[in-house]
Subunit: 304 residues, 2 copies
């Protein structure tokens, strides 16, 4: 984020604060444990704490702020969504899936612990995400809490993240080219649905009017798609030093991405179009949404 | 169940009806799908449909009936709990866990499909269980639905099923003897919590008075413990033909069970004590709970 223009210093600060607060929340919600389950808690903490941009958690906090939801309230939901996201990374990294040894420069969970512990830590993080959302501390109104659970379950299930990962595994096994519409659908399911929900969750917590809720969901949808193409662009064009991770992975793995299909210039213009479209959904929210606008710009400007 | 006394014909019929109804509910809740996710839905259906005693689902239905909850309503919750249970079996069977090739005489999911699909099908079944519970069709009152989600999440998480499985993996790796209290705690977490919740869920759906809810939870707790010892007794004493599955597994695996620790006679008397204790919790419910009483007797009398 060092290459962001100075005007977005406010975004940089807000994202760093959100990441720190989310880590504190996770530290409380997954406390170190004693006894024979200690290893499971250790693995859950290792998988979920101290890393990543916290894009999803930041979206929850910043969208909830539009409706004056208390930060401590929103932090529980932000942490729950980050738990869900962390679980998906742990399982995606497994030998039978993408078989990755490193994640954000650290050994993946099945490397740092073992495969059985990684499967269980992912499973337990998913359950814990729902547990956190369902507790009264998350929101006094049970109707709000159940709406959060319902939307998280949909985003995580077979018509969301799991469905997208299944498509991804099958596409890789088949090895053939994919059409643009297929790649778009795969990414919408695999990562888009959860990002969309993260933005919408702020509106749910704030009991926002449906119009606002739909606007934020649409913002999240376009933002997620822009981020995904920008990720693929980074993978195709950055050095590992710049990106902070191994690059050129997609091409080496023969992975179908929009960048591979459309070429760099068209992929770049598509990510710009999506970011502009994401920002346009925020018109109903006025100046208060400026950090969300800056986030859309950051999605395509970032170098890591 | 063929060796059950004739007096329990009513239980046999009720359990068979429940199993058939739960399969119909699962067939509707996890419909066959088209397109690239079809394989995921196929694996979820394979894992969850057409097998097992449906102990957990039957408990939901029969406990809900105590409070005149409509059967169609209770069936959604029964199916959700069976989805959660099915997911736990799929992941427990994985090569990195218990590495089982057969489950109820059929190839396990990672054998019939592949490992990645098995991990994803388990993940998606867990998400779907929460999705089903959170939908308005499950109960008109959001406070009831969130209470179901909360209790399921707790039973499934690191202080429930996942914690128990972690203890189990560690105990097997360590190979040393376990104390009675440890084995009891392991089994309470690994299988007990979900069975307890299945019984309690009926009371939650029926908005039963707290006294009744606690009585059913206690019934589920003791029943689950009795079932577990009876399972271990069957493993230790039955022929594979009688049990319908490979037996003598626990001893061969050096698995710590109460049967191994206490010996057959004491384990048998402990399962009888637990079944009687389970039945005693039903006193507050009167004659209407006779099938639940029969179930406690069946827990320790069954031959498979």
């Amino acid at each position: 984020m060092d290459t962001l223009p100075a005007a977005d210093e406010a975004l940089r600060v807000a994202m760093a604060e959100a990441a720190a607060d989310i880590d504190l929340a996770l530290d409380m919600l997954i406390p170190p444990s004693e006894g024979p389950e200690a290893r499971l808690f250790d693995a859950m903490r290792y998988a979920s704490m101290g890393g990543g941009k916290r894009l999803r958690g930041f979206l929850v906090l910043e969208c909830a702020r539009q409706f004056s939801v208390g930060r401590d309230t929103a932090l529980r939901t932000a942490a729950a969504i980050e738990m869900l996201h962390a679980y998906s990374l742990v399982h995606d990294d497994l030998p039978c899936m993408d078989d990755d040894d490193l994640r954000r420069g650290k050994p993946t969970v099945h490397k740092a612990f073992d495969e059985a512990t990684a499967v269980l830590a992912g499973d337990a993080l998913q359950a814990n995400a729902f547990y956190v959302l369902s507790e009264p501390d998350t929101h006094a109104d049970p109707a709000v809490r159940i709406e959060l659970c319902r939307n998280l379950a949909r985003a995580a299930g077979p018509r969301g993240m799991c469905g997208g990962q299944m498509m991804d595994m099958l596409a890789e096994a088949a090895g053939g080219p994919m059409e643009e519409a297929q790649i778009g659908r795969l990414q919408m399911l695999k990562t888009g649905k959860l990002i969309e929900f993260a933005a919408e969750a702020g509106a749910i917590l704030g009991k926002a009017p449906l119009q606002m809720r739909h606007a934020l969901a649409a913002y999240g949808r376009d933002l997620g798609a822009a981020f995904q193409i920008a990720d693929d662009l980074l993978d195709a064009t950055s050095s590992p030093e710049e990106a902070g991770k191994r690059t050129g992975k997609d091409e080496a793995a023969g992975k179908a991405t929009l960048v591979g299909l459309l070429g760099l210039p068209r992929a770049r213009s598509q990510s710009q179009r999506l970011a502009a479209q994401a920002a346009a959904h925020l018109d109903v929210l006025g100046d208060r949404a400026d950090l969300l606008r800056a986030l859309a710009a950051y999605a395509i400007a970032r170098r890591n």
